[in-house]
């Protein structure tokens, strides 16, 4: 679940940057929602010059971040604000602090149209989810409404 795509001009981020950035992003979800670390997927999209355009002009110092949230819906305005503040805090060293322009938006997609390793992920804050978090992998579990997950 959280599924991040980071579009940046080619050469913006080294492998070390990518490790640090994906770790900072992962930490948000582990700290705030106790999600399993392996739920957090980050794709880095290094783009050649002149493939990102803003307002009809080439944007070669611009990082565009697009996120899908699946495992958790953030229900209240306060939590949604906190979410965005946590996101901005995590990415700030990699965008603002480097003098880059940036923009981020999150979509929310249905929990029940999601599978990992072929399995239905356990419900939020369930015993099974805690096990997945502790083992940091998808473990077969008993789905209450079906013979097997």
């Amino acid at each position: 679940m959280p599924y991040w795509k980071i579009y940046s001009p080619e050469g913006t981020y080294t492998k070390e940057d990518k490790q640090a950035m994906s770790t900072a992003i992962t930490d948000i979800y582990v700290e705030f929602a106790e999600l399993p670390r392996f739920y957090v997927v980050v794709l880095f999209e290094d783009r050649p010059a002149d493939t990102i355009w803003v307002g009809g002009e080439p944007a070669n110092h611009f990082v565009r971040i697009v996120v899908d949230h699946i495992a958790r819906q953030v229900d209240t305005p306060e939590l949604r604000l906190m979410t965005m503040e946590a996101v901005e805090a995590a990415i700030e060293p990699f965008v603002k602090d480097r003098g880059l322009d940036w923009e981020v938006h999150i979509d929310e997609t249905p929990f029940d149209l999601w599978r990992t390793q072929g399995m239905t992920p356990p419900p939020p804050e369930s015993e099974a989810e805690r096990l997945w978090a502790a083992e940091n992998r998808a473990v077969p579990w008993e789905h209450p409404e079906r013979p097997s997950a």
Copy 2:
């Protein structure tokens, strides 16, 4: 409509694999919903090493599949479960059976914000949709609420 993106480590799939995989995916929608074959679009995104990160670690044996559903909304929990089972069955030979890790999620987007070949697609299970399926292409049709589609 169904619009699939398959992110995999570079070299995971040959052209033959891509043909087989996109055919298996297409068959889901033709068999279950009688959609026109050409509705099913699959983009293969071959990613260089160290561009996909899971939980802050490089994931070089991981396939991430992201799908948008447009032409059909799946309304009941039973149908949503069947959808995910059909999806998993179609992809299993290309992920699980090859020892790869994988994750898939589907979003649902609005029917009326979609066009193909500049045309408004016909309503689900209409005569016009059957014609599109039979001819496997977008054919001009009479939209009941407007002079022409």
Copy 3:
């Protein structure tokens, strides 16, 4: 906000085409909704042969356009129809008039899960949004419900 991705076979569009196409797309939002020009982000995804498949066959003359709308939700059927007509009119010279196949769909994502330059964008048609449009950049503004935006 509007966030466009244009997947096309490698070599379909020159840099000049990309400038013209992203300008035509930007103009839609400026003319219809008076959005700031810099809100309109267009990513060109030049795809190698045999990476786009339609109905199980390679589609090497096919342009797939995927859009996220964030800053504005289009609420009535009439406005949604107008939106799609404006979109098609903007892209027609780059797809239909070149003998290419094409398909486009738009998703709508939540306004409050969006930031640009770390700032909460001002509400639609507010004074602050007009300032952002006039200056064509994100300017700090006073959010009515919070100490600072």
